[in-house]
């Protein structure tokens, strides 16, 4: 889960990591006052949870409070990359001598936290990793032990720092690691981390994403993902894994891998899947009901495919949920159900009694659903 730059910045401040002077503002007048108070050139940064905001006009320099005001008037309320800007961060513009990168992420294969540092900050690290990988310093940190000061120091010397810069880097590195752990982050970085004229360091940007599974420990940061469609938000609120796609065949299944495969198989037979909807394991009648309701809210759906392989999930629960949802929604498109596994017979009995057609094989069912979707047109 992404959190806003201003929230990450607040965490940096709480841990005494130097950041440029700045204020979070919700209207243009506040921006003018903030710029006047800072009394130096400022940067106005749109607080939206999306990458590439700079290139899309979400980050602008102002040399006077009036200029900041005018930028803010344009920016606040505007839509950048599909997201409405409701607040901006106004910070002192700092001209760095040099820009560094520092960040922590998780290495899946090594089961470790990775410290990443580079003498080349302010650029896209993914690009740098491809063009000049030797400029990126990586060190895996044992999560049982944590980051030792010596490891932060090694990183500092390895990217060519010395004296005050090396000491500042070491200290900032340790603090970002503390933040990384304290909020259950899966990414915490500063890019760029600027070196100033006197060798001191200041974090010009701060970016943190939290582990979705740990949000229950950090409710204060809970954030609706602004990039989600309204329907995706509704599905997430109902605890369903739901992703909208471009097609017209609704897909519901139990288990992420199975639903992904269902989509692939439907596409293989020439269908265009409209969505990914995983009800998860152990779905109740209620969750099946909600899944179908949400899936059917998609406009221009031409067919619905429900693919159930019961393990934890019980086929009779699914059947009951399906029956209830279909009755309420007065379904006008063809539905194909594939249902095998736990309580298969009970489930099929319920479907039969309610006149719902079912199949045994996923592939046969996928072919059938594609046919049913497009032959009606």
């Amino acid at each position: 889960m992404k959190i806003h730059e201003w929230q990450a910045r607040e965490l940096f401040e709480k841990y005494n990591i130097p950041v440029p002077r700045g204020y979070l503002c919700r209207n243009a007048d506040e921006v003018r006052k903030a710029a006047a108070d800072i009394a130096k050139p400022v940067v106005v940064k749109a607080q939206i949870l999306v990458a590439g905001r700079g290139k899309a006009g979400g980050v602008k320099h102002a040399s006077s409070p009036d200029e900041a005001l005018s930028i803010a008037q344009d920016m606040i309320g505007a839509t950048i990359k599909g997201i409405k800007v409701t607040s901006v961060l106004v910070v002192e513009a700092i001209k760095p001598e040099k820009e560094l990168y520092i960040g922590f992420t998780i290495d899946r294969a090594m089961r470790a936290v990775t410290l990443i540092a580079s003498s080349e900050g302010g650029v896209d690290l993914e690009v740098l990793a491809k063009t000049e990988p030797e400029k990126i310093y990586r060190k895996n940190i044992d999560p049982m032990v944590g980051l030792h000061p010596y490891e932060a120091r090694e990183a500092a010397y390895s990217i060519g720092l010395s004296d005050k810069s090396a000491n500042d880097f070491t200290s900032i590195c340790l603090k970002i690691f503390e933040i990384f752990n304290s909020v259950d982050a899966d990414l915490a970085e500063s890019n760029p981390l600027a070196v100033r004229f006197d060798g001191s360091l200041v974090a010009l940007d701060s970016r943190i994403t939290l582990d979705d599974n740990a949000v229950f420990r950090h409710r204060e940061y809970y954030q609706v993902d602004e990039e989600l469609s309204p329907l995706e938000m509704e599905a997430h609120a109902a605890d369903l894994a739901f992703v909208q796609l471009d097609g017209d065949i609704g897909i519901i299944g139990n288990g992420a891998g199975l639903v992904m495969a269902t989509i692939d198989v439907v596409a293989h037979f020439g269908g265009k899947p409209a969505n990914f909807l995983d009800m998860g394991g152990g779905s109740s009648v209620e969750s099946v009901y909600r899944a179908v309701k949400i899936c059917l809210e998609q406009k221009s759906l031409k067919a619905l495919f429900v693919n159930i392989l019961g393990g934890i999930t019980k086929c009779d629960d699914v059947a009951n949920g399906l029956v209830r949802a279909l009755k309420e929604s007065q379904l006008k498109i063809p539905i194909t159900v594939r249902m095998v596994g736990t309580n298969e017979e009970e489930g099929r009995k319920i479907l039969s009694e309610n006149g719902i057609w079912y199949l045994d094989s996923m592939e046969t069912a996928a072919e059938a659903v594609v046919k049913s979707a497009y032959s009606r047109n």
């Binding site: 740990a214 796609l245 891998g257 992904m260 692939d264 094989s361």
Partner: protein
């Protein structure tokens, strides 16, 4: 022989009295799994289908010293504690079924387990089954059949799908392992393949992958570098998945242009591993690869 579980597996169920815990305790018993005891704090003295429940793992193990494996159904906020309780009680194998475990928790207990030499499967996994011998998981047992195909999978229901296809084609399984759909798992695809390589019962391998991470790419690299002793075929889910979107599993996301199904398929095929487009093609590919 099979890997991870067999007739000698003596099982403890942690979180045995919860909804999932109790129903799968009964299902495992029904399958013939040697479920010896269960644990739920405060429920000592009760039982699930005749399986005695204890307050602590220590108590269970002292009453039933034959216990060597544990399966965990303890909700995410308390899951790590349950894993440590198992890890510190002499288990050789821990299957962690629970989903939504915070990654900082699993990072820590997975490292702790590795230092201790204990095998964790999961979290967020369907478990392990050696058909006919032992089911330590939540998979529907009737779908699997005894045989010589080893399955390793990052998915649950997709594993059942493919096991079903294999079973219908007369290709039984030695062991099927669901490694789990989280970014951090106790044993990953490559490590399970290494176990299967040492198992005489297993003659061919099916790798069920999905988008996200680089487990399949690392497997492909390993095959190129040191080879693999047994034929492998694969199925990768998520060819149609859009980048940047988490597809159900915490680990299933194409980020920064890496972890796509296309990339994985390309890597595997470049290492000589045939990748099926449809589950139904897998039996054919296996038969072909075993003939070579």
């Amino acid at each position: 022989m099979t890997i991870l579980v067999d007739k000698s597996t003596k099982v403890l169920v942690q979180g045995a009295t919860g909804r999932e815990g109790s129903s799968h305790t009964l299902a495992m018993l029904k399958y013939g799994t040697n479920v010896v005891a269960g644990v739920t704090p405060g429920k000592s003295g009760s039982n699930i289908g005749g399986v005695p429940i204890y307050n602590t793992v220590k108590q269970a193990v002292s009453e039933h010293p034959e216990i060597n494996s544990s399966i965990i159904f303890v909700p995410a906020p308390y899951n790590a504690d349950a894993v440590y309780e198992a890890l510190d009680s002499g288990m050789k194998l821990i299957v962690d079924i629970t989903e939504h475990v915070p990654v900082h928790d699993s990072l820590e207990f997975v490292n702790y387990a590795r230092n201790k030499g204990v095998t964790i499967i999961g979290p967020n996994c369907p478990g392990v089954i050696s058909p006919g011998d032992c089911k330590l998981g939540i998979m529907p047992g009737q779908i699997f059949s005894k045989g010589n195909v080893g399955i390793v999978s990052r998915s649950g229901t997709l594993t059942y799908e493919i096991a079903w296809v294999l079973t219908k084609a007369g290709l039984g399984q030695s062991t099927a392992v669901g490694v789990g759909g989280d970014p951090i798992v106790g044993r990953d695809t490559v490590e399970i393949i290494e176990m299967f390589e040492g198992d005489p019962e297993t003659k061919a391998l099916v790798v069920i992958g999905e988008i996200g991470g680089d487990a399949e790419e690392r497997l492909a690299l390993r095959i190129r570098q040191v080879g693999v002793k047994k034929p492998i075929v694969s199925f990768i889910a998520g060819r149609q998945a859009p980048p940047g979107k988490r597809m159900g599993h915490a680990g299933a996301i194409i980020s920064m242009g890496s972890g796509s199904a296309g990339g994985k398929i390309k890597a595997l095929e470049a290492s000589g591993v045939p990748v099926a487009e449809l589950p139904s093609q897998i039996p054919v590919l296996i038969s072909k690869s075993m003939r070579q």
